[in-house]
Symmetry: C2
Subunit: 223 residues, 2 copies
């Protein structure tokens, strides 16, 4: 009874084709300016068919966002699998996030969607759960790494690894979003280099979190 399986594969394949078409449009125009008709044309399908595979425009959008998260995950995985000492890996992880931003800023922008509760109105709960699950993967990677650094005595025990993760993440994200503004406000009006500011802020946070042992072993990370 291989027919059902083949059909399942073909269905999955079609879902992927639709994502690919949606991706090219969404990355280019963003959620608001992209239209389902346009995506249908790019996918060489009718609009109705799109709705056989995805419940709403927002669902389809999130499916594309998840591809971006996948890219990010792979970058993170690679950056933390070099076998280097744990504090170096944490530093690598920060760099990897910044690399992701620089090379995939369109995906980075698409992700804005995810933390605006107002925009989630049209998203199906299934899709939302799939997203949460994928998030968890990324966060597990981050948190496990920080836990390791604590266990090895490099980061202070009184800060929970989750807290440390959120703090470092929020900080980097906030600064990269400033970089992503259309204008060059900070550079031009204020004479501030945001890339340098990002490095500084990560250094400040890590410096405040590191133990004495870490500061001795990684003098280059001390400010």
């Amino acid at each position: 009874m291989g027919i059902l399986e083949r059909k399942e594969r073909e269905k999955e394949h079609r879902r992927e084709e639709i994502i690919a078409a949606a991706q090219s449009i969404f990355l280019d125009k963003g959620l608001q300016l992209a239209t389902m008709d346009e995506i249908a044309e790019a996918a060489e399908l009718s609009k109705g068919t799109l709705y056989l595979y995805y419940k709403s425009k927002e669902d389809l959008y999130l499916a594309v966002v998840m591809r971006g998260v996948e890219i990010m995950y792979e970058l993170f995985k690679r950056a933390t699998s070099t076998g280097e000492p744990v504090m170096k890996l944490i530093s690598n992880l920060g760099d990897a996030y910044f690399e992701f931003f620089k090379n995939n800023w369109q995906y980075f922008r698409m992700m804005y969607f995810r933390d605006n509760p107002r925009l989630h109105q049209q998203v199906s709960s299934e899709m939302l759960n799939v997203c949460l699950e994928q998030d968890r993967r990324v966060w597990k990677l981050v948190i496990d790494l920080i836990q390791r650094a604590i266990d090895e005595g490099y980061l202070q025990k009184n800060i929970s690894p989750v807290q440390a993760g959120i703090i470092l993440w929020s900080n980097s994200t906030g600064l990269m979003r400033q970089m992503d503004r259309g204008d060059n406000y900070w550079q031009e009006q204020m004479g501030v280099n945001l890339e340098e500011t990002l490095r500084l802020s990560n250094a400040l946070l890590l410096d405040a979190m590191m133990t004495e042992k870490a500061k001795q072993e990684y003098p280059s990370m001390v400010i």
Copy 2:
């Protein structure tokens, strides 16, 4: 020739009335779900009239956002005008931002709009400039305060006040946005209290920025 002036006043008044109506709708429903017809009805005007006063829905939205920024500015002004020592004022400022978030989370959400370049498509350049100008006021307040702390020898000279401001701001904003998620993800799934995390991250950053003198004079701010 007082007639022209009166007309000018009336026009300004009408603009305010429209903002008031728009505010009640936008705070409630957000940009996407609010409709211009609905706002027109709330303002007891026809939709056409709205467009005599504001160029687009997004322009009107930003006019409302600016009221939120005004509220924030006044809170910041008050928090930093108590005559207390400068490091206490910086701490007050952080608290004031958090208070703003707690008491005006709808405005806080509306402000998401401002750093998504994709959403700005429909905004007139005039409105954008007015916004930039109002931003500058808030930032001047923050940066001047930090500059004072540097001048008085409490914050390290090698960090520019603008950089310090952006870092503290990004960090707080990022964490408050996590708090603003519909779900209680961090609390429920990860057992992390975000309010505590916010305090911690601010403390970490300030600790890393403070001079020895500051740490001696403000032992409570040392971690």
